[in-house]
Amino acid sequence: MISIIDYGLGNILAFVNIYKKLNIPVEVVSSSSMLGSAEKIILPGVGSFDWAMTRLNDSGMRESLDKIVKSSNVPVLGICVGMQMMANNSEEGELEGLGWIDAGVKHFTKSGLGESVNVPHMGWNNATPIINSPLFIGLEKEARFYFLHSYYFSCGKESQILSRTSYNFPFASSVFYKNRFGVQFHPEKSHHWGVKLLKNFAEIEKC
């Protein structure tokens, strides 16, 4: 069973619809008591960093999530701000992140890297895998995903980077560490490419 965390943000039903069409069982989880049976976890997100962190903190699920993610091998996938929440902190907000991946979140142009580009990074762009990952199986080089963000995941270690996307500079558009995966783009809104990636996540063996 894939548990989709409903803390009041992100397009929960878009994930449910995709998995239903794929005949993969999913469950929308809105309380920590429902987390016990989670075999895979999706942490969606749309919005600003502090708003998302506040909603997750207020949901009553943070502690249980933290425990499951850190002490078991249940794979978890963070989406967009859901990915950014997995870092230690973000330049967008003041609250602490979940700290599941030792990294920070930075603004595209204020950090002074690269040339100046239009921010937010909005629209369809490629995500080029730099290592072989089960998440990107069958996704051709031209696979495109929908991005909508002003901040990017700044990895502490090269080994955390799954794919890169070129905007201003080649930033980490998906990352991983142990059982934790994060994608900056919205697979639930990325047509057949996104469906494939979500299917791949469903098929990942326990980490």
């Binding site: 960093f49 937010p120 369809w124």
Partner: protein
């Protein structure tokens, strides 16, 4: 590489899909959910849905309808119509919408832009400016309430202001070109493109793929939106929802 976006813009009136000319004479063209399903199949880059009654009738956004659209949409959705405060914006985002557009409220209370950006993040705050060209001079003014009320505010100053407040995208909507399908007003785009470093989407006038190519060739990565072009087909404007294929799209944006 980031690609230009080709975006159908759907207008909603009484929960039905309509298309206007010069923001007037709405013609019923079908059911919005059905249209969304077709655009899903055609793998549309994004979709903009505007409720053109909400502000005019001073009513709340139709959350039930928005929710149903968001559930159905397999592409990013931008909703606009009747949005006046941050609470409404938060509610719409939590229904599963990626971007919320504000228009007349951005003009009457620009601080809404900064409040919304702080709360939901700039990337989800879109400002739509409906503009008409002034007579005899190369200047454009913003209008509200479906093009009926002039704000006497000039577009270049306005978009700079909106950008400084934290808008994440500006949609420039030409009232003069609406429904004519004879090409975008490139002179209008020229005035705004270089004064802000935000994504820009242009609406009003597109009738052919060539019109979209022209826009992309002139301005690089940009949003090319259209209404009539994606709901009408042929000389007699028969209602037929359509969208360029992947190949046609490549041709439009890489010419």
């Amino acid at each position: 590489m980031l690609r230009s976006r080709i975006i159908p813009c759907l207008l909603i009136k009484n929960r039905g899909l309509v298309k206007t000319v010069n923001f007037d004479n709405p013609k019923y063209v079908g059911d919005p959910i059905n249209a969304v399903k077709i655009f899903n199949e055609k793998e549309s880059d994004e979709i903009i849905v505007l409720d053109i009654d909400a502000t005019r009738l001073n009513r709340e956004p139709d959350y039930e309808m928005i929710k149903n659209l968001a559930i159905e949409c397999r592409m990013p959705l931008c909703y606009g119509g009747g949005v006046k405060n941050v609470e409404q914006i938060k509610k719409i985002i939590s229904l599963g919408v990626e971007k919320v557009a504000i228009s007349s409220s951005a003009l009457s209370q620009p601080s809404l832009i900064s409040h919304a950006a702080k709360m939901v993040g700039s990337q989800s705050v879109v400002v739509i400016v409906d503009v008409k060209k002034k007579r005899f001079v190369n200047k454009y003014e913003a209008y509200t309430h479906n093009g009926t009320i002039s704000t006497k505010q000039e577009i270049v100053k306005l978009v700079k202001h909106f950008a400084s407040l934290g808008a994440g995208e500006i949609v420039i909507n030409s009232i003069d070109r609406d429904g004519y399908m004879n090409g975008y007003d490139l002179k209008l785009v020229e005035q705004v493109r270089d004064v802000i470093s935000l994504p820009i989407t242009v609406l009003g006038g597109a009738g052919t793929h060539e019109h979209m190519s022209e826009l992309v060739n002139s301005f690089g990565v940009i949003g090319a939106a259209a209404g009539s072009m994606f709901v009408f087909k042929g000389k007699y404007k028969a209602v037929l929802i359509n969208y360029p294929s992947q190949k046609e799209k490549d041709k439009i944006i890489t010419n």
